[in-house]
């Protein structure tokens, strides 16, 4: 592999960036020194955090959890009520159906129990 390695070293010579690269970069630097950046960071870390900022996130989380629990409970109650009402309606429909069936059976029974009319003379002669 030595020759490939030598060829690679030759092919991968460093390339210079465009003329004036460093000058352009320095002109674009933010107007704060690295020391200022460090000082700002340190100051930010040292700033006391207010009670509201310290507890706002956990409080918001707890409130969200409570809302979720109550919403869940409310939805479950609504669902149970809907199921109960549907059950009652089905029961009412069944009772109605049974009543109608019973009435029809009574009519049929009465028709069976009624005595048949006596045959007429014409009918007797035909037979």
């Amino acid at each position: 592999m030595n020759e490939v390695e030598e060829l690679l070293r030759r092919a991968l010579r460093r390339v210079e960036p465009p003329e004036g690269f460093a000058e352009r970069l320095v002109r674009a630097l933010p107007q704060v020194t690295p020391a200022n950046v460090m000082a700002l960071r340190a100051a930010r870390k040292a700033t006391p955090v207010s009670a509201w900022r310290r507890f706002s996130a956990p409080a918001a989380l707890a409130a969200s959890l409570l809302v979720a629990v109550f919403t869940g409970q409310h939805l479950a109650t609504l669902k149970a009520e809907r199921e109960e009402q549907a059950g009652l309606a089905a029961s009412r429909e069944l009772m109605q159906a049974l009543r109608v069936t019973s009435q029809k059976l009574d009519l049929a029974y009465e028709a069976v129990q009624r005595p048949a009319p006596a045959p007429t003379a014409e009918e007797e002669n035909r037979s």
């Binding site: 592999m1 490939v4 390695e5 690679l8 092919a11 390339v15 460093a22 320095v26 630097l29």
Partner: protein, 188 residues
């Protein structure tokens, strides 16, 4: 400030740059710009992308100057940030779609005993490697870093670095033989 005097006293340059001396920081950039730009260029194969990457790297350096312990540490830090940033960019869709070698890609002016076509083909083959393998090869053969330093630079086990080098060399050699750029007998 001229570059010659800057190179003589780089520790003081570093100290001055930390205090916000932009001329000192410009001198530090000039000392390392070819290395950082070339890492970006060999990794991304685009001059504009390499320039963007180099700018990002030096801006990060400016913000982190207080954590740089020495000039040697600065060189290591720059290579580390440049290589890892290039790997990240390559993994993004926009750069992953870039052809392995842009048309007219720059090969340094040839010296007497050099073969520009061979160089171009090698750079093209390098561009076909996966981002991590490419970074290993650039750090090894462009930046002339040893295996242990490459491993530290890329947060990679030493054996993985060795394996990347071996596999990449084998693959490149096979393709060069296939393209009749070299013959099998030329190499041991």
């Amino acid at each position: 400030m001229n570059l010659q005097s800057a190179q003589v006293d780089t520790p003081s340059l570093l100290a001055r740059a930390r205090r916000g001396d932009q001329a000192a920081f410009a001198s530090l950039i000039r000392m390392h710009q070819a290395s950082v730009f070339s890492i970006g260029y060999r990794m991304l194969n685009r001059r504009d992308a390499a320039e963007d990457l180099a700018q990002d790297v030096f801006l990060q350096l400016y913000r982190k100057l207080d954590s740089i312990e020495s000039v040697e540490h600065m060189g290591f830090w720059l290579r580390r940030v440049a290589a890892n940033l290039a790997i990240d960019w390559l993994r993004r869709a926009a750069y992953a779609r870039v052809a392995p070698l842009e048309d007219g890609a720059e090969i340094p002016a040839p010296q007497a005993d050099e073969d520009p076509l061979m160089d171009r083909e090698l750079v093209r083959l390098l561009g076909e490697l996966a981002p991590a393998a490419r970074a290993v090869m650039v750090l090894r053969y462009q930046e002339d870093r040893d295996v242990a330093e490459i491993a530290a630079t890329l947060d990679m086990p030493v054996n993985t670095v060795k394996s990347h080098i071996k596999r990449s060399l084998t693959a490149m050699r096979g393709k060069m033989i296939g393209a009749q750029l070299i013959t099998a007998e030329e190499l041991p």
